[in-house]
């Protein structure tokens, strides 16, 4: 009995989300194998082998895994299915893109975005933007699961897994990467940051967003996030969006600035340890989830906070 974890990486290094997924795998019992599919991905494979609890790292190194397309990854994962009771990936844009494809090819359901494991067949997952938690049982022979990373701690180091090269599956050749526009930032990754400062429509403009929130994020060593309204208005790019249909975050401290607190936004941040809201409207729903609410004009309060820090 073994569990297969699909690694997320950029060939050189492993993404943090994989470590949380390994912890979820450990809850299931059985050996943990990690699949690293990439192109020139030795660095990522070695990092995976060092994770505590991992027994085997399988590496498929081929040019057609460079872009991590769902068609090619899914075909490879399905070819490797023998001997696994569960196949897990993080519920990131890559996991969401690939794993349902794997499940359909195996003719099994996928269990999306789990936040707890009751037993090998039974999982807890949020539905309705996190307004309800469903406990679901799967009767399928193989469980294909995506894992909400904020619900599981990151696996530690100190492992010494065996690294095995495996054969690549054929290139489907139906999807080609034309280009990427990735946000470059020296700040911590939003989904894994200890402190997140988010701005909403109340920021008024992209210029204000950066001028007001960056000094605060700098002082706190925080990641920057945003509401959908701020993203739609073009203040910041899509990868800043926190919420039901954006990123799920659960930092030690979440500071919501000029955000009203729509249910879709709360779905992405209400598991944060401490929530601060700065909003000029005393009746804004965000105050219902905030540990500390400050009713104030953000253009005064935030600079004041920066100076006081």
């Amino acid at each position: 009995m073994a569990v297969l974890v699909i690694a997320e990486h950029d060939n050189a290094a492993l993404k943090a989300a994989t470590r949380n997924t390994v912890t979820a795998a450990a809850r299931l019992g059985g050996d943990i194998h990690v699949l690293v599919a990439g192109s020139g991905c030795t660095g990522a494979a070695q990092a995976a082998a060092q994770l505590a609890g991992v027994a085997v790292v399988k590496v498929a190194d081929a040019a057609h895994y460079a872009d991590q397309t769902a068609e090619n990854l899914a075909a490879l994962i399905v070819a490797q299915k023998a001997g696994y009771t569960h196949i897990l990936a993080a519920s990131t844009s890559q996991g969401k893109n690939t794993m349902p494809r794997v499940a359909a090819l195996l003719d099994v359901a996928q269990i999306s975005d789990i936040v707890a494991i009751e037993d090998a067949d039974t999982f807890v997952r949020p539905i309705y933007a996190g307004n309800a938690l469903a406990t679901v049982r799967s009767g399928d022979a193989v469980k294909v699961v995506t894992v909400r990373t904020t619900a599981f701690d990151a696996a530690g180091q100190g492992g010494g897994a065996k690294i095995e090269a495996i054969a690549a599956a054929p290139d489907a050749g139906v999807a080609k990467l034309l280009g990427r526009e990735l946000t470059k930032s020296a700040r911590p990754e939003l989904a894994a940051a200890k402190i997140v400062v988010s701005g909403g429509r109340g920021m008024g403009s992209g210029e204000n967003y950066h001028k007001v929130l960056e000094p605060l994020a700098d002082k706190l060593g925080a990641a920057l996030g945003a509401s959908r309204a701020a993203v739609d208005a073009g203040f910041v790019s899509n990868d800043y969006q926190v919420g039901q249909t954006g990123k799920i975050v659960a930092p030690q401290l979440y500071i919501a600035v000029g955000i009203s607190g729509a249910i879709q936004h709360l779905a992405g941040m209400k598991d944060s340890k401490v929530i601060v809201a700065i909003n000029k409207d005393p009746d804004a729903p965000i105050f219902q989830v905030a540990d500390y609410g400050l009713v104030a004009d953000l253009f005064q309060a935030v600079p004041e906070l920066v100076t006081a820090l």
Binding site: A70, K96, A103, A104, D107, A109, D113, D140, D239, L253
Partner: protein, 249 residues
């Protein structure tokens, strides 16, 4: 080119659902239902492709109870040409929906299926990818831009780190993200016209698909409520609380 757009009837996004006290699910009695917001974006995109002369026919499809006809009429009012209801009272899970859609694709031969990325009730985010797998087609999920030319689709996708653009060989499956477009409002004349557009009904058995659920819901509970917080008087008090009470900075 024919385009399929699957649309799901879901609880309206403004409704805060309540969990039933017996733990069997959420209370849907007398709750406002609407088309899944991502599916409105999908219909809008397909209609724009038709207006641009890229698509020739837009077919809206829904799998669910007879009430889903209402959702299909909304799709027709936005501009779909005809609709198909796969009528069932069963709880149709994403794999079952994908199989029903595959059966219809096999029958009618569209070159493009545009779905929402996620239904806001089950939050599964699976159906499009599953359909692409069953058909053996290429896929581009979380689309914020779609350009179709010369048998290829160039699709810009919203991914965790930013954006990426894929070129897909058609036929293909695309799932929509929020910023793909802003759906139009259906005008009254179009709502009237939609009533006369064709709507065919099938049963899952007509399509030879077993829709039995693979996942059994054992219970549904409300998430733990957060402790009510406090309002602080000013920045100084906020800072004091964060340092000395919460100890997070």
């Amino acid at each position: 080119m024919k385009v399929f757009v699957p649309v799901k009837r879901v609880v309206d996004y403004n409704v805060k659902v309540r969990v039933k006290s017996d733990g069997t699910g959420v209370d849907l009695a007398n709750v406002k239902m609407s088309m899944n917001p991502f599916d409105e974006i999908a219909i809008e995109e397909a209609v724009r492709l038709k207006e641009a002369g890229v698509a020739t026919e837009v077919v809206a499809i829904s799998c669910g109870t007879a009430a889903s006809q209402e959702t299909l009429r909304t799709a027709l009012a936005i501009g779909a040409d005809r609709a198909i209801l796969v009528e069932t009272d069963a709880d149709v899970q994403p794999l079952a929906v994908a199989k029903l859609l595959k059966a219809l694709v096999d029958k009618e031969g569209p070159q493009l299926v545009i779905l929402g990325k996620q239904a806001i009730d089950d939050d599964s985010n699976q159906t499009g990818q599953m359909l692409a797998a069953l058909l053996g087609w290429s896929q581009a999920t979380f689309a914020s831009k779609v350009v179709i030319a010369g048998g290829k689709a160039a699709v810009t996708r919203e991914v965790d780190g930013g954006l990426e653009t894929l070129e897909l060989t058609m036929p293909a499956v695309v799932t929509t993200d929020l910023r793909l477009n802003e759906p139009r409002y259906a005008t009254l004349p179009n709502i009237m016209k939609a009533k006369k557009k064709p709507l065919d009904t099938f049963k899952p058995a007509d399509l030879g698909v077993d829709v039995a659920p693979r996942l059994t819901t054992l219970k549904v509970v409300e998430p733990a409520k957060r402790q009510a917080g406090i309002k602080v008087a000013d920045v100084a008090q906020l800072l004091d609380k964060l340092k000395n009470e919460a100890k997070v900075i």
